[in-house]
């Protein structure tokens, strides 16, 4: 057992890396104006970064590609938005509702698809995503349909002894998102370092061998899919709070593809890779779409260039260089 608790050899940079990442994130509102950004851009990156990291829990650490994860992100968005709009004005309750809606949907879908592998798994996840997309799109009375769900705002946080203003104060909202991000990512990291997480790695590396060791592959994949859906719907809830708006594009295939490219752009074998990928992608997309109406062409070009020339992603290439 003690072997499991020791750090694996590749982990010797773990503490410095952790310190660096959290320094950057904690100080973000202070340095981001100097590189031409603004606080809510940082918040957006954090939210999409959490979404991409949740997806990478599946892609990078279980070896299973979901190309329909926007479904659970979007259900998180709608779950949070609907609760705030119709039931209560409590921000934390909205987040919990979003997490439950997306997570439980992921649990149900996961149960149906664990026998599929590779490209076929991806295909089924894409198809299931469409169900949720059409429900959000067609159920006008509840969701506002194509125009999206408006008429809700995030509420200030009431801690009992004091109230934190996250409605108008961008800084406070950034740190609230960072707080939720830290909890989610912390749990994700702990799960990956647990025996369960190591088993997922074993499945990724060699499914047949893992099966011969008596591991119930289907159940592990189902659990991984479920956890990943819960994590990403937390990001969805935060997204609803960030925009005070929910619309069907948050459940659409395009977003699923964008989340996958964020993972690959940063490096799928590196824990923090998708966060860096999200930052790069959001900045690049902002830049391109403010410079040309044909931004779609160039965004597509990013996909093609990354796949053809940088399949390991930025951190993947760095790590390889340092190991060589």
């Amino acid at each position: 057992m003690s072997g499991l608790l020791k750090s694996p050899p590749g982990d010797r940079h773990r503490l410095p890396v952790l310190a660096l990442v959290w320094m950057i994130l904690l100080l973000c509102p202070f340095w981001i104006p100097y590189i031409g950004g603004y606080t809510s851009l940082g918040t957006r990156i954090l939210v999409l970064g959490l979404a991409a990291m949740s997806l990478n829990f599946l892609i990078g650490f279980t070896g299973i590609v979901s190309f329909g994860h926007a479904a659970y992100f979007g259900l998180g968005v709608y779950g949070c938005g609907l609760i705030l709009r119709y039931v209560t004005g409590s921000t934390p309750l909205g987040l919990v509702a979003g997490m439950l809606l997306g997570g439980l949907a992921g649990t149900a879908v996961g149960a149906l698809i664990t026998k599929r592998r590779g490209i076929y798994f991806a295909m089924v996840t894409i198809a299931f995503q469409q169900i949720f997309y059409f429900i959000a799109y067609k159920w006008n009375g509840l969701t506002g349909g194509f125009d999206g769900l408006r008429g809700f705002t995030r509420a200030n946080l009431d801690l009992g002894f004091t109230t934190i203003n996250i409605i108008n104060n961008d800084y406070a909202f950034y740190y609230f998102v960072l707080f939720v991000f830290a909890i989610a990512v912390g749990i994700m990291g702990l799960v990956l370092r647990s025996p369960f997480g190591r088993t997922l790695l074993a499945i990724r590396e060699n499914e047949r061998r893992a099966r011969f060791l008596g591991i119930n592959i289907e159940r592990h994949i189902w659990l991984a899919f479920t956890l990943s859906a819960f994590f990403i719907s937390i990001a969805g809830g935060l997204y609803a709070l960030l925009n005070n708006f929910a619309d069907p594009s948050s459940l659409y295939t395009d977003l699923s593809g964008e989340l996958v490219i964020m993972c690959v752009l940063g490096g799928i074998r590196v824990f923090w890779g998708p966060l860096l990928g999200a930052a790069l992608y959001v900045v690049l997309q902002d830049y391109i779409s403010s410079h040309t109406v044909n931004w779609m062409f160039f965004v597509g070009l990013i996909f093609v260039v990354v796949v053809m020339f940088f399949p390991r992603g930025l951190l993947g290439m760095l790590r390889r260089r340092s190991e060589a």
Binding site: A127, Q130, F134, K138, N294, W295, M296, F297, M308
Partner: protein, 288 residues
């Protein structure tokens, strides 16, 4: 009521025919190359637009063949320059590549031919209605169903009797052995890809005559076609054919009783099939 049901049933057949053309192409590519072609709907649009360009010069009938052929050539070039380079890599890369290509093709189409829809003119004798009571039976729609039937029969005959068709079928079962027998698998995959794109281009010309052209015209066909493949069973082209018809007709009949649900019913059918018979109508056991 009967008229309404017949009307929707026929509509379902038309939509189903499009699903069949699109999903057969997708399925051929998926089976032999293990690639989900996200750009398939954009190749479809390209086929329609190429016909739009060609018709003033060579007329409708030759365009019906030449436009899909040109689309197939574009597909072939994209396959040999990009897609063939990522065979054998993790599926995530082929998904992302065709996804990016879909964005690029769609924007390029929009850039060249404009955001607004364009009409695709069909010969006059095709567009007249045939009967007053059954107003929905115009010649073009019957012609459309006829062309799809011919294309599908042609495809199956090609796969069954031609040398290359046999190689493609063998390659789906065991590509390594086919390669070991001295067949150029790389070329086989490129040509197979071009065939799939040809079918998409054909669907594009036919759809253009029915609903007009716009840069996103393939989008609404792409995802239901995935469902057709899943429901019909991975690896089986006949299954894909049945799957496409089933979901087309089911969606159209649902529209009679509950219009808002007609898009969702396609996916509900998929969920039921996955629950009751995970391998689909005609899928091989173990083909996942």
């Amino acid at each position: 009521m009967l008229q309404l049901v017949l009307f929707n049933l026929f509509n379902g057949l038309i939509i189903g025919a499009f699903y069949v053309l699109v999903s057969l192409g997708l399925s051929m590519i998926l089976n032999l190359s293990n690639v989900i072609n996200f750009a398939h709907g954009n190749f479809l649009a390209l086929g329609g637009y190429l016909a739009y360009v060609l018709i003033p010069y060579i007329g409708f009938w030759p365009s019906l063949l030449v436009a899909p052929l040109l689309t197939g050539v574009v597909g072939y070039l994209i396959e040999i320059t990009m897609i063939s380079r990522i065979y054998g890599r993790d599926p995530i890369y082929s998904l992302l590549l065709t996804f990016g290509l879909a964005f690029m093709l769609q924007d390029a189409t929009r850039y060249i031919w404009g955001v607004n829809g364009l009409p695709l003119t069909v010969p006059d004798n095709l567009s007249a209605p045939l009967s007053q009571t059954y107003f929905f039976l115009n010649a073009y729609r019957l012609f459309l169903v006829g062309i799809v039937i011919v294309a599908v029969l042609g495809l199956f005959a090609f796969l069954r009797y031609s040398r290359m068709g046999m190689r493609i079928r063998a390659g789906i079962l065991d590509l390594d052995t086919v390669s070991a027998l001295g067949i150029n698998v790389r070329r086989l995959r490129s040509l197979n890809f071009a065939f799939g794109i040809f079918l998409a281009g054909l669907a594009g010309v036919l759809a253009g005559g029915q609903i007009g052209l716009n840069p996103n015209m393939g989008d609404s066909l792409l995802l239901p076609s995935f469902v057709a493949i899943i429901v019909g069973g991975m690896g089986s082209l006949v299954g894909t054919l049945l799957g496409g018809l089933t979901i087309g007709v089911a969606a159209a009949l649902t529209a009679v009783v509950w219009p808002a649900a007609s898009d969702v019913v396609v996916y509900v059918i998929m969920a039921i099939v996955l629950l009751v018979r995970p391998r689909g109508f005609l899928g091989e056991e173990g083909m996942q």
